[in-house]
């Protein structure tokens, strides 16, 4: 790779890369992000390469292994360029046909196209599939068209143009002004204005300043940052370089979870390639700007996503937060001014520099500009990563993009903002997503987790689950977090077990109030949110658990019993055979009965009872009907009587 020493050399390099590529040549792009790898894209990739060889199509059909496309529910995903036909749920068995059709004038493989569940029609293009159609994939969109291991791919789509623009056409203060004007707010949780943070660091005294990427994504169910870093590491690096230039930093860190091996690998490759071309190092592009990036792998503590804990860990000490009465932007790593932004925030920066703050501020709401990537998971038809303009309603995200709730179930709540976010009920589904809007509803934007829950979800148990997660991840330094969460978890667990007592809700509220006010860091101050938001919108569920010992969602094991409706039981023996503890008594033509003493409430009988019988019932809050008398248990089949 040649080192690029000027703006014009970069232009020439970009032209040369584009000239070397035949845009009309069929190119099979295969999603190779972590989610698709889990569903077998590795085998598909190997298959495609072997098949191209076998069919003698080498040089005629290209393959590109890209990052995450977002529609993870339907992975592995293939998009065939240049037409961009998309295929879903590809198995190695589909590969020969895909390859031969690609070689045969890039014909479409109809059977692998997406079928619209509403119209039953086949849809050929990504942009027409409902999941993608309603998105605005400004940050995440490039993921699907570049190989993250190839800097040339990134350059081919205009990569590093923003860096070049910043270094040669803008003064560092102009870059800062542009970011300030864009009203970009931090995508990692708090939504702090990025430009203001940068300005604070820029103005802070000191020659050594740091810029840091927070890639310690730890929220259960969230993988936006992972997918961005895996799929488009150069965009994040480019943003970081621009930020460094704006504040006067020569050194940057990427704090990434070591549990993200592919992100770590692709990032390391990206840094190496950027160094070779001279986008990193001394005298970048001949501009006189020096900057280097170091990757720091996190050892696996959720709290290290918190800025001061992350910085303490970066210094090589135990990852515990420290008081931030002086911002880390002024006094951060080794007491030097340090700008820490999340992966997605950095990835937005090149866009803003390229297209301008005016363009950026046209997207979104008054106070939340741009787009946001959400990880849409839980009881939702289309699981995946979605990027939408700020201001889209939760309803549109869940129904138009997410395809609603599967299995004909009713929507109950959506949990946003990660473990310390909150649950938003159905009556607020028309809420627009934005930093302040979500906070007002008792939840938060967080880093963009969005967990959809249906009617079978117990909200008390949800609160218990998240409080358990946070108790486990609390660093233990301050009392209201360590001890307060311990007590909250105990009380919540008791409630879900039917051991709740009068006054529990009030005590939980008191513990929450103390935690919110007195904890050392944001993990602690926001930790009560799962309880506070569920008690705010679903207080009746708490009361049912405590007063009636009833779980309205029929989900809490200790409060739920299984009963076979004698009028519906057809004595098919399926449940009796499957019961792991032999708690079901019955035989052919003998109505089955569950021995409540033996039953462990595992729910197997409920799941295996054929839906045409629907004989197994879940009960909560009342006594289980007594088993029918022995003499009434024999079934006399009408059809056989004749």
């Amino acid at each position: 790779m040649p080192r690029i020493n000027s703006s014009s050399e970069l232009k020439k390099l970009r032209e040369a890369i584009l000239a070397s590529r035949d845009q009309r040549k069929p190119c099979i792009t295969l999603c190779s992000g972590s989610a698709c790898q889990a569903t077998g894209s590795g085998d598909v990739a190997a298959g495609i390469e072997a098949e191209i060889e076998k069919q003698g199509l080498g040089g005629k059909v290209e393959v590109r292994k890209t990052g995450c496309h977002g529609f993870c529910e339907r992975g592995p995903i293939i998009v065939n360029h240049p037409e961009e036909s998309c295929y879903f749920q590809i198995t190695p068995e589909d590969v020969p046909e895909i390859v031969s059709q690609a070689g045969n004038g890039n014909k479409v493989v109809d059977r692998l196209l997406y079928t619209d569940p509403e119209t039953d029609e086949k849809i050929r293009f990504e942009s027409e599939i409902p999941f993608y159609k309603h998105q605005e994939r400004l940050v995440f969109g490039s993921n699907g068209s570049i190989d993250p291991k190839s800097i040339d791919d990134y350059l081919a789509i205009g990569g590093y143009a923003a860096l070049e623009k910043a270094l040669f056409k803008m003064k560092s203060e102009d870059v800062l002004e542009e970011v300030k004007k864009s009203n970009l707010r931090g995508r990692g949780g708090g939504g702090f204005p990025t430009g203001r943070k940068w300005e604070e660091s820029r103005k802070a005294p000191g020659d050594i300043k740091y810029v840091i990427v927070n890639a310690d994504e730890g929220d259960p169910g969230a993988y936006m940052d992972r997918s961005l870093l895996e799929g488009n590491p150069h965009a994040v690096l480019e943003g970081l370089m621009i930020g460094a230039y704006a504040i006067g930093s020569k050194e940057g860190y990427v704090y990434v979870r070591q549990e993200y091996p592919l992100a770590v690998e692709n990032l390391a490759i990206a840094i190496e390639q950027a160094e070779e071309y001279g986008f990193l190092g001394e005298n970048i592009l001949g501009s006189g700007f020096n900057f280097r990036v170091i990757v720091h792998k996190g050892a696996g503590a959720f709290v290290c996503g918190e800025s001061s804990a992350l910085m303490t860990a970066l210094e090589g000490r135990t990852g515990e937060p420290r008081p931030k009465y002086i911002h880390t932007a002024v006094k951060g790593v080794w007491d030097n001014p340090s700008v820490l932004n999340n992966v997605e925030t950095w990835a937005n920066v090149p866009l803003i520099i390229n297209k301008g703050a005016d363009w950026f501020t046209r997207i979104g709401t008054e106070k939340s500009k741009g787009t946001k990537i959400f990880s849409l998971v839980g009881k939702i038809t289309n699981t995946g990563l979605v990027e939408v303009p700020m201001g889209m309603t939760l309803r549109d995200i869940i129904y138009k993009i997410g395809g609603g709730i599967p299995g004909g179930k009713k929507f109950k709540a959506v949990q946003t903002g990660g473990p310390s976010g909150g649950c938003i009920p159905e009556k607020l589904l028309d809420l627009q997503v934005g930093f302040d809007e979500l906070t007002k509803a008792g939840s938060m934007m967080g880093s963009g987790g969005m967990i959809v829950m249906d009617e079978d979800t117990c909200m008390v148990d949800v609160a218990r689950y998240f409080i358990e997660f946070l108790t486990d991840e609390s660093c233990g330094k301050c009392v209201p977090c360590r001890e307060g969460l311990r007590q909250m978890l105990k009380i919540l667990t008791n409630i879900t077990k039917g051991k709740g007592t009068q006054g529990d809700i009030e005590l939980l509220e008191e513990l929450s109030e103390v935690a919110k006010e007195a904890c050392l860091c944001a993990l602690g101050t926001s930790a009560p949110n799962p309880f506070l938001s569920t008690v705010r919108y679903f207080r009746d569920e708490y009361e049912a658990h405590i007063k009636e010992k009833r779980c309205p969602a029929l989900s809490c094991k200790e409060l739920t019993a299984y009963h076979i409706d004698p009028a519906k039981c057809q004595a098919c023996m399926i449940c009796a055979r499957k019961c792991p503890v032999d708690a079901i008594d019955g035989g052919k033509k003998t109505i089955h009965i569950i021995d409540q003493e033996k039953c462990t409430r595992c729910g197997t009988c409920f799941e295996v009872c054929p839906s045409r019988f629907n004989a197994v019932q879940k009960l909560s809050g009342g006594p289980v009907p007594a088993p029918i008398a022995e003499e009434e248990r024999t079934i006399v089949r009408k059809s056989k009587k004749k």
Binding site: A301, V303, T318, R322, P323, Y325, T471, D472, E473, S474, C475, G476, K477, C478, V479, P480, R482, E483, G484, L485, R486, Q487, K490, E510, L511, E513, V514, E517, A518, C519, L520
Partner: protein
């Protein structure tokens, strides 16, 4: 050092730059309760008992006074219904671990904390970190440290270092706000471990 004038509980207090609110208050004889604070050690901000309200301009917020440094025209309130409520809860959360700690009981009386509010849990350590930090910062030996995190966090003497350093020191014992015996017990475990063959550990 430039002088800074702050107001604490309605009283004008002269402080110097870099001083914490806690130091300023104590210098003026205004008491603020603490559990993890020690004059010889860097502020820790762990127990949160020293929480106070500060007002800068029209902006009021709760901060811990052992870490928050004074600034011009700062108005500090060390007691209020809210502050007392927080302190009471913090004490109750600690008392379930160390119900007989004289220091905790002294504050419990002042703030009306009920030592039996939460179910007792036998770990007499309240994680104030005084022993850990004293050993590191004053003695510079780093013999005792924290292991694990959150509710599983506990103090631990590193056996090999303890065998070498602790016999003649034990200066951390009297610092313990709950029970010197707790530290003694943990140290004894480590010293026993240090003298036992590896395979028995």
């Amino acid at each position: 050092m430039s002088e800074i004038l702050v107001q604490i509980d309605g009283k004008e207090v002269k402080a110097t730059q870099g001083m914490t609110v806690l130091e300023a208050a104590r210098s003026a004889g205004i008491p603020i309760p603490t559990l993890c604070h020690h004059e010889k050690l860097e502020p820790f901000g762990g127990c949160r008992l020293c929480i106070v309200q500060v007002q800068v301009g029209n902006w009021k917020k709760h901060v811990v006074s052992c870490v928050y440094t004074v600034e011009e025209n700062l108005i500090v309130t060390t007691r209020s219904e809210k502050i007392d409520k927080i302190r009471k809860m913090i004490l109750e959360l600690q008392l379930c671990h160390a119900p007989d700690s004289p220091e905790l009981l002294k504050y419990a009386e002042e703030y009306g904390a009920d030592k039996d509010r939460f179910e007792k849990e036998a770990s007499f350590c309240i994680h104030c970190g005084l022993c850990v930090r004293y050993c590191a910062e004053v003695k510079q030996k780093h013999v005792v440290g924290f292991v694990d995190r959150g509710i599983r966090k506990e103090i631990c003497f590193i056996p090999e270092l303890a065998a070498k350093e602790c016999w003649d020191c034990k200066e951390c014992f009297p610092l313990c706000p709950t029970e010197a015996l707790q530290a003694a017990y943990v140290l004894t475990k480590s010293l026993t471990a240090a003298t036992e063959p590896r395979s028995n550990l």
